[in-house]
């Protein structure tokens, strides 16, 4: 059961699942944020946006880039940017 589940996640299902889950969470979070106007919650929503952005870029790279080296370069660049932005958000969360 667990092995078949891991196989499904390894065949591109993870991108699809991450993108849909983050999109559903963003729809709810944006509605809540427009009512609550909380800074901590806003930073959390920004983290969700980052996750959605990463999944979207990985999907675009998989669909439109066929050269393996360019694909690897783009994926690593996006992951590094994500780490950097997530670090900034967590620093802001600590400072605020």
């Amino acid at each position: 059961m667990l092995g078949s589940l891991l196989k499904i996640f390894g065949r591109g299902f993870l991108h699809w699942f991450t993108q849909r889950t983050s999109a559903c969470s963003l729809v709810v979070s944006v509605v809540v944020l427009s009512v609550s106007n909380d800074l901590f919650f806003g930073l959390g929503v920004f983290l969700l946006i980052l996750v959605h952005f990463e999944a979207g870029v990985h999907t675009l790279v998989s669909d439109y880039m066929h050269d393996s080296r360019s694909k690897l370069f783009m994926n690593v660049s996006v992951d590094l940017l994500m780490i950097s932005l997530a670090k900034t958000v967590f620093v802001l969360l600590i400072c605020v």
């Binding site: 849909r20 999109a23 559903c24 729809v27 944006v30 946006i49 980052l50 952005f53 979207g56 870029v57 675009l60 669909d63 439109y64 066929h66 050269d67 940017l81 950097s84 932005l85 900034t88």
Partner: protein
């Protein structure tokens, strides 16, 4: 060896007569594997934008990807701006420059802001439409066109309200 090559020839899509070349078998095999990988690199991109007649459904779906790409670029650009302002936090010249820049190009910045609002609202509303499709809701042709028009109407409403505010 010949029988094995005949059996596996469909893997690389080559002719089984290659097996008759004796000691050059591995060389020819490698050349064929290499050429098959090179053929994979030049295969056409998906989706074929120029093949089909533009329809509301396809145009909205394509623009959903394009707006997602624009929003991604917007995040990257803004993250660079935030990082640069964090790096020069001790310099008053940087703040003076950004203040002068925002005063000088206020109309351009406002126009870019409205454009980003348009793109974000379109991506948001059309994303909700895509999520409803994932739950198998509204997949009939009539509903597709109705929800597409609703997306366009809601985006127009959001942009007009933002400009009026």
């Amino acid at each position: 060896m010949v029988e094995q090559w005949n059996h596996n020839s469909h893997v690389v899509g080559s002719s089984p007569t290659f097996a008759k070349s004796g000691s050059f078998w591995w060389f020819n095999n490698c050349v064929f594997i290499k050429s098959s990988f090179m053929e994979q690199k030049v295969r056409p991109l998906s989706p074929h934008l120029t093949v089909y007649k533009p329809q509301l459904t396809s145009v909205l779906s394509i623009f959903h990807r394009i707006t997602g790409g624009f929003l991604g670029l917007f995040i990257v650009f803004n993250s660079i701006l935030v990082h640069s302002s964090l790096f020069f936090v001790g310099s008053s010249h940087q703040y003076c420059f950004s203040f002068d820049f925002s005063c000088l190009f206020s109309t351009v910045i406002l126009a870019v802001g409205y454009f980003v609002v348009f793109i974000a609202s379109f991506h948001f509303t059309n994303g909700v439409r895509h999520l409803s499709w994932d739950f198998a809701l509204g997949l009939e042709i009539k509903n597709l066109y109705t929800t597409g028009m609703m997306v366009l109407a809601s985006v127009s409403l959001v942009v007009v309200v933002t400009i009026l505010l």
